[in-house]
């Protein structure tokens, strides 16, 4: 039926095995190598699993259940059918989705900025400026010092995740 359009059966979309590359390997690849790798990966995949695709590269409207739709993109059935309501799936995406891993991964812009900072406190300072556009207050600095003492290397990732899923990120002033 031509009217139904081309509908490949669901079973064809076999999930491609994620190539076993560690974060360190990815960050050590050159820009060209990374680009080639992502092209290969994208060719085999039907589901956008990372944050590497731009919104303009997705079909419009995006498929239901994907990031843009979850955050209220219109389904284009009616004019102005977009929604600006908060919802539990949105909160789940911020808490568990690929956002935090993407921005704190070693090949992200934020990681490059953080590498320039030397002490852990300076790193957290840069993190605050990147995410909240301000420096941490004295109270927050005290909390952050404790975090650095408790968590050591994991402090940066912890604070990134905590800030992304907090209220201040929603209301950046």
């Amino acid at each position: 039926d031509l009217r139904a359009g081309y509908r490949p059966s669901k079973n064809d979309a076999a999930k491609p095995a994620r190539p076993p590359l560690t974060k360190q390997q990815v960050s050590s690849m050159t820009k060209e190598q990374r680009k080639a790798f992502m092209d290969e990966y994208k060719k085999n995949m039907t589901v956008v699993k990372s944050m590497a695709t731009r919104a303009s590269e997705q079909q419009s409207p995006a498929r239901p259940g994907t990031f843009l739709r979850t955050f209220g993109q219109s389904d284009r059935e009616l004019i102005q059918n977009a929604s600006d309501e908060a919802s539990v799936p949105q909160a789940l995406t911020m808490l568990n989705g690929p956002i935090c891993e993407s921005i704190s991964g070693p090949s992200s812009k934020l990681a490059q900025m953080l590498e320039k900072a030397t002490s852990p406190m300076q790193k957290l300072d840069t993190l605050y400026q990147a995410i909240l556009s301000r420096r941490p207050t004295p109270n927050e600095t005290a909390i952050l010092n404790r975090v650095i003492a408790d968590r050591g290397d994991k402090a940066v990732e912890d604070v990134t995740h905590a800030l992304i899923s907090g209220s201040q990120f929603l209301f950046v002033q």
Binding site: D1, R3, A4, K10, R63, P64, G65, R69, T70, G72, Q73, S74, D75, E77, L78, N81, A82, S83, E85, A86, S87, V88, P89, Q90, A91, L92, T93, M94, L95, N96, G97, P98, E101, T137, N139, E140, I143, V147, R151, K154, D158, V159, H161, A162, L163, S165, G166, S167, Q168, L170, F171
Partner: protein, 431 residues
């Protein structure tokens, strides 16, 4: 003796003053029942019954389902187009031939053929059908799932009170109620509740530490901006975490169903949505809505209808038989409705246009006496008996759930609203 009788008849000064106050100043006698005693909301029905339905599966046919080719079919009429009618499991009831599986379950269902609305556009009709109030700029009204949660609470404290499975981004949702009453909107049921588990690389201890850190860092902000709106967003996060940590998270996972189940319901968003709805009500969610779109057939209705009806029929038939087999159909109300019907006259593009003057909806289970048809149209053009207004239809659903139809609740702007405005339930449907 005489003096005793005299004193028995005389009003004391105190009683006299009280009576004056009650009549002149409007001080109500029923101070104890203050919420119910408001005369401010006239017209809402006082009918109420013990609940015959504990939960609702609300199937919404978005776009305006044609009533003449489905449930409002009039055998032999010239307005039927090319659709014939078939017999159903209910005596004397015939529906369109494109719904054979559903026809086998009509002995549990009641068709209402005399629905009539004034809202002929999609956005307005959709809103009216979901909330029983016409669309207006001043307020967003809550839908039935939110009202149910407000009056009777959740079935399962960890899972959301109501779930809406739809491709549509916009839905009235919980209206002016607090964030805790907003339904969970799921776009793709086959993939379940996405991001509901922690990323594999993260341990539970790490995750909890980060949550604690997040609330610590937010404290200053929350204290200086102690507004409802700000708190509402934090509530959404808290709800999300509750869902994540609930043991019933498997309710959202469709891969736990057998392949035979998936076969029986079919593929596609609607079928998977129906399967998910059945799973969710088993785990205690009390209101699940599933939407099937694409009914807006202004062109080539004969070409488009068979496939759409096949999708609907397979999933609906499978779900109703499934519910009956599990014994859930007796206290689960299954509702099938749309925003309006379609014109009896086929238009120049071989399609049908919007027609809110007469259309049909169906109710199954939940205390409904099956096998009946309520209301009649003449060939689907005009309603001839028992006209039912959209608020009346929603009042019937609320009546089945045992919700108080005259209890007034106030929005944040101090406007009064009831569950279905002035809708009167069709009590004769209940056996």
């Amino acid at each position: 003796m005489k003096s005793l009788l005299n004193s028995a008849n005389d009003l004391t000064r105190r009683q006299f003053a009280e009576n004056v106050a009650k009549t002149c100043l409007g001080v109500s006698l029923m101070n104890g029942l203050a919420p119910r005693g408001y005369a401010a909301f006239e017209g809402s029905s006082k009918a109420t019954q013990a609940a015959t339905a504990k939960r609702v599966i609300y199937l919404y046919m978005s776009g305006g389902m044609t009533h003449l080719d489905t449930f409002g079919a009039v055998p032999g009429a010239d307005t039927m187009g090319s659709t014939k009618t078939i017999k159903t499991s209910a005596d004397g009831v015939q529906i369109g031939e494109l719904l054979p599986e559903t026809a086998k379950m009509m002995h549990r269902g009641a068709i209402i053929n005399s629905l009539s609305s004034t809202q002929g556009a999609h956005a307005q009709g959709n809103y009216f059908q979901h909330t029983s109030y016409t669309m207006r700029g001043a307020t967003r009204h809550p839908t039935m799932g939110a009202w149910l949660q407000k009056f009777q609470g959740k079935g399962n404290t960890d899972l959301p009170g109501s779930v809406i499975i739809t491709g549509d981004s916009k839905h009235p949702g919980g209206g002016f109620f607090e964030a805790a009453f907003q339904p969970l909107l799921l776009n793709d049921p086959a993939r379940g509740l996405q991001n509901s588990r922690m990323p594999g690389s993260l341990s539970e201890g790490d995750f909890n530490y980060r949550l604690g850190l997040s609330s610590q860092l937010d404290q200053g902000f929350q204290q200086s901006y102690n507004y409802k709106g700000v708190k509402a967003y934090a509530e959404v996060y808290k709800d999300a975490i509750k869902v994540m940590k609930s043991e019933d998270l498997d309710a959202f996972d469709l891969s736990k169903e057998s392949p035979e189940m998936h076969e029986a319901y079919g593929q596609g968003n609607f079928a998977q949505g129906c399967l998910l709805a059945r799973r969710l009500i088993e785990h205690g969610v009390r209101f699940v809505e599933v939407t099937l779109g694409g009914w807006d057939m202004h062109q080539d209705i004969d070409a488009r209808l068979p496939e759409k009806c096949a999708d609907l029929d397979k999933a609906l038939g499978a779900m109703l038989t499934d519910l009956e087999r599990r014994g859930l159909l007796d206290d689960t109300l299954v509702v099938l409705t749309s925003e309006f019907g379609r014109t009896p006259k086929i238009n120049q593009n071989d399609g049908r246009d919007h027609y809110p003057k007469a259309f049909s909806s169906v109710l199954w289970g939940g205390g409904i006496a099956g096998g009946q048809v309520f209301g009649k149209t003449d060939k689907g053009i005009e309603v001839t008996e028992n006209k039912v207004d959209v608020p009346d239809f929603n009042a019937t659903i609320a009546y089945a759930l045992g919700l108080p139809l005259d209890l007034v609740l106030y929005s944040s702007t101090k406007r009064p609203f009831t569950v279905t405005d002035k809708g009167k339930p069709i009590t004769s449907l209940f056996g």
